[in-house]
Amino acid sequence: MSSRRSRQSTAGVSRISDDQIIELVSKLQQLLPEIRDRRSDKVSASKVLQETCNYIRSLHKEVDDLSERLSQLLATIDADSAEAAIIRSLIM
């Protein structure tokens, strides 16, 4: 990475190269399922940011739901199956 990063002043003005930002935004684009599937090169930065925020929120929600589900599942894991024994020995 080039060394044109600057410390952000309190006024919010930072001399960071546009190329750096464009490169990072395109990497972000690759990660987002919505935008990647559309295969368009003309996605604006604000759209990428919006999709990023939505994606992170949905991932947070999924972690929350899975934690809830695991909490209920692990409470009742006293069956006699081999898998139950493995799980019990792993985490309990």
Binding site: Q8, S14, I21, S46, C53, E83, L90
Partner: protein, 168 residues
């Protein structure tokens, strides 16, 4: 700094199992809510410690594991909607010359980017202290780590479902 998915997954699983064992689920009479909090906390700690202190978000998450719900989100997203409405209204006015329209569109776009960057900062642990480049790099890493976390948790959930089924 960017680890392959499988390496990150192994690190996460290792740390998460350690964390879950410490919760001692079999001994306690925890409520479902307390168990859920313990599972989530151990998952977040495992996800962060799998990065071995190499990223800002992971250090921020370990030092402050209770993710505060961003309170500025609603205000910022309402502001974004106002900006988008305003831009549509301005584009419709035929009185504006082409150059002026471009200027207005550009400044609206900059405004949107600023507002959305603010929202992103509230979502990434430790985000409020980052500059633009750092924020995007940390976001990339954070998203890949979140995916690993979701992946592993889903696998454990489906394994638990199978394990609870009556033995055939």
């Amino acid at each position: 700094m960017h680890l392959p998915h499988s390496t990150l997954k192994q690190e996460f699983v290792k740390k998460w199992i350690m964390g879950l064992q410490r919760c001692k689920f079999s001994n306690n009479n925890m409520s479902i809510f307390e168990r859920k909090k313990a599972i989530k906390l151990s998952a977040d700690t495992a996800m962060a410690s799998a990065r071995k202190g190499l990223t800002c978000w992971s250090r921020a998450l370990i030092s402050n594991p209770d993710r505060p719900v961003p309170t500025t989100t609603r205000r910022a997203s309402l502001a974004c909607k106002k900006i988008v409405k305003r831009s549509r209204r301005i584009r419709r006015t035929a009185k504006c010359g082409a150059a002026r329209k471009r200027q207005i569109t550009r400044s609206i776009a900059q405004c949107l980017v600023r507002k959305r960057t603010q929202i992103l900062k509230s979502l990434i642990p430790g985000g409020e202290f980052m500059n633009e480049v750092c924020l995007i790099e940390e976001t990339l890493d954070y998203i890949t780590s979140l995916r690993v976390q979701v992946d592993v948790m889903r696998s454990l959930a489906s394994a638990s479902v199978r394990a609870s089924e009556p033995h055939n």
